[in-house]
Symmetry: C2
Subunit: 220 residues, 2 copies
Amino acid sequence: MNKKNQMDKKISTAVIRRLPRYFRYLRELIRNDIMRISSRELSEKMNITASQIRQDLNNFGGFGQQGYGYNVKSLYSEISHILGVDSGITCIIVGMGNIGKALVNNPLFEKRGIKITGLFDSDPDVIGTKYNELVVSDVQTIEDFCTENNVDIAVIAIPKAYANETVEKLCSVGVKGFWNFSNAEINVTNGKKIFVENVHLGDSLMALCYDICCEKQEAN
Amino acid sequence: MNKKNQMDKKISTAVIRRLPRYFRYLRELIRNDIMRISSRELSEKMNITASQIRQDLNNFGGFGQQGYGYNVKSLYSEISHILGVDSGITCIIVGMGNIGKALVNNPLFEKRGIKITGLFDSDPDVIGTKYNELVVSDVQTIEDFCTENNVDIAVIAIPKAYANETVEKLCSVGVKGFWNFSNAEINVTNGKKIFVENVHLGDSLMALCYDICCEKQEAN
């Protein structure tokens, strides 16, 4: 089944959000030379019910065979395909502060076949520095760059105050995906269709603090 | 209402997960000197229905007054209190690679009143380096450190392969909270109650890639 067919079938956002987890597990299984797995075994490893797993995976064709399980490699390759792994997605990083630096060296782009093609910053001391063969460019040149090069995703790793104007600019030169680390709400007003994925690290930390505080109070 | 009372009332995880977002919005409002807000206005800003907002906030006492709205400062202070902001939580960072470095310099700990008290690494070139007055210690000394100092949360920013043994060690010296950037599933076997908050940056990136790929296919 190709992606177009799946799209017609409209896989729910909840399922799409779970797919990267399957992707990680299956990759791990392949690394360990495990070629078949039952929904029960997968369920134990992933801490999801077997019935949820069957339901999730049935969304894009029944790969599992009764009493035989799933073919790990084909399931992995199908999920990779759905999620756009190795489909030539290109990405730039805007803002080479701590987050930008942590990301440019992170293997997560490469593992998913996403190519980082540009790095941008506004600080004269940072412009011209080099990361993995890429030289940091002046953010003033970002629109020209995106006009000349196809850019699918911009990582927004700049301060909150500059996030929306930057996204607006990038939008106008065809960038559609924004991986937003700035903590700003992205409100683009030009009516273009964009996709924003927010990473609020602090929110996750606070949920943990809540648990810790409850635990401490219970102990008292 | 104190936290103990709220706990007796068992606020659902879904609500707790939304609270940090309210926390951010309310902080923004305070910065802009806005002292009262209606659920309708908050709804427009946050893109959540007004009825959801009222429901969420009613979980810890009805702060809103009909025709008058919410008192921003008391709501902020109550949510801060529930989430354990400024409640003396202490934290260490294990692994001073790119993620560790990005985090130690990130204001998110300070903003929530969380004190980073120790940094650890295994690399002799990294041990002894300094970040914000804190010297990176040898990870071999981590158990002694945690025995001598109260540590609530450990940020796990080390490679996947070492994550579980490290968590197990930290568990045995009383650390209960783990902010896990390692991509490992934490499976601690010693029966201690711990809280793990996983940050899988790649999963969020993949969800974005899915959207971009669908969009590209639609365009073709």
